[in-house]
């Protein structure tokens, strides 16, 4: 993935999860059934909204950092993919887990959250450790 594309995709991710906040606020204002009366769903949709938005910002920072640190291109391409995918999985995993939840726990999509977290974490660690002359 190119640096430009990563930056644009990260901004789009932030926009997407910020927009989901409008949706949640509207459901609160409208006292929507299945939201106002479902604390588990509310909690996980909020988690998805917050994590998706914040991790989108992390991706923007990461896109800038990869350029600033001159991370080797072969690594940078993969880091961008991993970081972007990780942010999307965390946000979407929380949200889908909340939408499809059972009686006491979120639904199986929440299992995507640890996978996304690992992707993002390994991306950040790699960015921090790699030097411009590493191959």
């Amino acid at each position: 993935m190119s640096a430009d594309r990563h930056l644009r995709a990260s901004i789009a991710l932030v926009a997407l999860f910020l927009a989901s906040g409008l949706w949640l606020e509207a459901m609160y204002g409208l006292r929507a059934e299945g939201w106002i009366d479902d604390p588990l769903r509310r909690e996980f949709l909020r988690l998805g909204h917050a994590h998706g938005g914040l991790l989108g910002l992390v991706n923007i920072a990461l896109a800038w950092a990869l350029e600033r640190l001159a991370t080797p291109a072969s690594w940078a391409r993969k880091i961008r993919w991993a970081a972007l995918l990780g942010a999307a999985l965390v946000g979407a995993g929380f949200m889908l887990g909340g939408l499809l939840h059972g009686p006491t726990d979120p639904g199986p999509p929440v299992l995507a959250v640890p996978a996304g977290a690992m992707l993002l974490l390994s991306s950040l660690v790699a960015t921090a450790l790699l030097k411009s002359d590493d191959e």
Partner: protein, 665 residues
Amino acid sequence: MARAWLAPTLLFGPALAWSIAAAAGLAWTATDTAAWADLERHGDPVAGSASCRGCHPQQWQSWHDSWHRTMTQRPETGRVVAAERALVGPVGPVGPVGPAAGSGRQRQAGVLAPFAGEQLDYGGFRATMDRGDDGTPRVVVQRLDDAGDQVVGSPVLDVAVALTVGSHRYQQYVAQLGRAGGDDSELWRLPVAWHRAEQRWIHMNGAFVEPEGEVGSLPDYERHLSRWNDNCVFCHNTEPVPGRSDDWPGFRTRVGELGIACEACHGPASVHLERHLGNPLRRLLASADPGTDGSIANPSTLTPARESEVCGRCHGQRIAKDIAAVMRDGDGFIAGDELASVSRPIFADSTIAGAEGLEHGRPFAARFWPDGTPRLSAYEYQGLLLSPCWDPAGDDGLGCGHCHDMHGATPDGQPRAGRTGEGACVSCHSPDTLGGAQRSGGHGGHGQHVGAVDCLDCHMPRITYGLLEGMVTHRISSPDPAALLGRADQPDACTQCHVDRSRAWAAESMAALNLRSSPVDPSAAQAEERVASRVVLDLIGGDPIQRNLAAHALARPGATGSLEARMAWIAEGLEDEYPSVRWFAWRGLRSLVEQLDVEQVEQQDRRAALLDELQQFDYLGPIDARVEIITRVRALLGPGPLADHPELHEQLAADRWALAIWIGE
């Protein structure tokens, strides 16, 4: 070459490994038959309500706020329920109390009474409620001298409270008696209780429907010193086991949890916990459809019959199939079982082996009205079984859960949201289909009183006594005063509100309102109804339950008749020989006096004088003191009922001696 795979492995490897493991775990869990099978839970241990809280916080909280939870508490661990917090204020009943205040000792949360040295003189004995050196609530009973002023001799009872029972209407106390020859394994209900609404001590003889005992008689004073292990334990605890057997001396009583906790209605949860805590993936795959788990019962998904049996286990007095087995190991019932597999509900004609000769072969008849309707609380299940809304097949009729919600927001009565008043009925009985609904006055002819009269007032009248209260019957029926014309042994729905009217009037009014009714035979009406209302006749000449309920009806909001007339009538109950009748009359009269118009100058002094007299009146106090107050109250209220017919009054009062009964709370 190594560099080519290093980046993707480090970046994507952990997430990929996790994803593969999670997918495999989900697939394995989904296809593992043991994870989804219905599990046998009979005999399983109780896990305890604390183990439910983590996964079901909302349900746990609504249970925690209920009166069910505080059915039995240890004095040192009990917590006050939400409703009680509302009564005593946001800080709860915690704070320095009485003599203990100086030492900084605080009232224990599970104990509603102060236990700060209060005294209750009753029946020739003085009970003193205080605390031991370690702060444990204590009850000491001593005999009074003939004058009733000083205690004489050593205490006849000196015990430390081990458990509290109840907290809604009144709180009873349980202790080891420690008497010579007594069994350490036995706990006994003490003779005094704390009445929550009145914030006072009462003697248990006053809560039972029975005449008072002889002054100075210890057996009479201790009449309700009942053993907890094989009585109270059953319906005030979760999965109780009395532990009584011929194989060992005394009791080996144990309970799954004190009070009515989660597993009283859902059954033992240990395998449920094992299933869901042992494999978190099982929780992720759990269906959102309640009742599909297989390791726990959810009463809301049972058929109305099975669901109602969960409640009927305690709210419907029963006779065990095998009494010895129940006394040894408990009844073994868990939610979803047929209650009939372990017991049968008590009805008017029920008998028990070995008691065929008792009460003419009908030992339980006094607990029911002549038509078989229960007239005591804790028979709500029987009322439901006798209702036309009940489906004997059990699949499609009315169940407890239609009107009650154990996880709702209202602890008192635990009504389901929207199912109070007419809301209880209209989901099945559309107003459009009810007779008379389309004309002015509406169904039942009470349309002009919308808000004051609803379905329950006529179809579930307050003809049940329990815990010093008049309660709605759970036998749903249509009023038919004509069927009771000429009889004085059972109240009808109409005259419980129309307290100034006769049953003959009610019977004729049914026809006038074009409502279904038995044929009206005016000649069948009792002659005395021409000079007094049905409820007033019940108050003077009914049996003790009728007198309790008559006094209760006279003071109910919405009762017809002038305030003055009702005050003069209800004061008759202050003279009753049954403490419970005096209680209803005293409380009812007080509420009526409080309604006197304080704007009228001439009423102000009278109202204050009456309230002052009633403040001094103790329905459990010595008869001499009561008579003095009654004389002054009567002077302020004017003549009582049937003052113009003293012979009839005397006859009714004399006849009621033949109606004496001895039945429970």
